[in-house]
């Protein structure tokens, strides 16, 4: 089980949660888990859309305490 990298992008607008995820995935090894915390409702849609388009795995997408927690596994 690989260690989960957490990107806390709550309350930030630029470059934003998806861009931070893309940068985080580039830094990670295949198989790595990355969790993005976002206060931007749009992240709940645009991150899964990008993950599906590239072909990574969306592990979970949940909301709690006003933040979205989206976990992605790098697959390639």
């Amino acid at each position: 089980m690989s260690e989960k990298k957490i990107i806390d992008a709550r309350g930030t607008f630029c470059p934003g949660p998806l861009m931070e995820l893309i940068a985080g995935i580039k830094q990670s090894e295949v198989g790595a888990l990355i969790e993005v915390l976002s206060s931007d409702e749009g992240s709940a849609n645009d991150i899964p859309e990008w993950v599906a388009k590239v072909g990574h795995e969306l592990v979970s997408n949940t909301q709690s305490d006003g933040a979205w927690r989206i976990v992605v596994r790098k697959t390639k």
Binding site: D8, T12, F13, C14, A23, K26, K53
Partner: protein
Amino acid sequence: MKILIVGGGMGGTILANNLARRLRSELEGGKARLTLLSASDRHMYQPGLLYVAFGRMAPDELYRDQKSLLEPGIDFHVDPVETFKLDESCVICKSGKRHDYDVIVIATGSRATPENIPGLAENSINVYTEEAAVNFYKKLCDFQGGKVLVSVGVPHKCPMVPLEVTFMMYDFFKERGMLDKVQLHYTYPIGRLHSLEPVGKWAQKEFDRLGVTYETLFNMKEVDGDKQVVRSEEGGEVAYDLLVAIPPHKGMEVVEKNGLGASGWIPTDRHRLNIEGRNNAFVLGDTTNLPISKAGSTAHFEAEALAENIASMVKIGRAVRDYDGKVFCFIEAGKERATYAMFNYNNPPDPKPPTRSIHWFKMAYNQLYWSSARGLL
């Protein structure tokens, strides 16, 4: 208290000058010592590279002698740090000299790394170094027409540059009567034209009005120079005649080599700007791993907050304020119009329509910067 600043760019220089003024009596009385280490004896105004790329500033206008920018009382050395020993509160420089500290601030910046995408470095132009910006201008002047592709890597310094380069190229070709021979095409990594949603919406209207075509969710995977195409991680492919890259960036190698942070970005507390887990080591500007813009204004506002806190630590033993995430970015919308985006952790930007007056204010700021670096603005 021995204060050590590593890096003589915008953040490190503003911090050093601000601290030197706040701690004048402590520095004179020997209660505090302020040392600045840099890799260069020259200070570059990096935002000016955009204007060099369009023949509107000469490269030598971007530089000042670093010493000439510094307040008295700052102990300045051109001697880059090679080893950080944070557990021992000291660094070792290239010369072999050791500097001990009570408080350290790391502000070593970032660098474009086009070599990290196969084929990108040898087949594209960019505006991120003096040499690259001069080459950009020459290539633009020699361009006879065809498809110009602006493609954006992640992460990158100065989030407005992709749009600014596109708008400025439009006016460049328009002025030369070449618009009928040139197609401008823009790709962006996420599902809109800019990371800031209001800026993205504004840019889309402008692109539609100007006839600039675009594609989103496009992350460069490789460039095939023989076929003149860029392929994306998402499976797309775009042809080009001239490729303008916003290359991906990394922090400086010395940060990675010392194990301070992956890709050269140091894990940093978003309010106090300390290295996570350490209360006497701080980070400024591009060097942080914070999910905010890597821009000069970010370094500037962080430096102001940090100067106040470090000075207070010397005077009363406590920090007094948080960095609130403030960023201010001009956006050149062509040759003679500009707007801006200002935001912080709690308030999103609300950019206004571009005007000539904001453009001329930006032109004025290109000169006022030197007062800013001195910590006067």
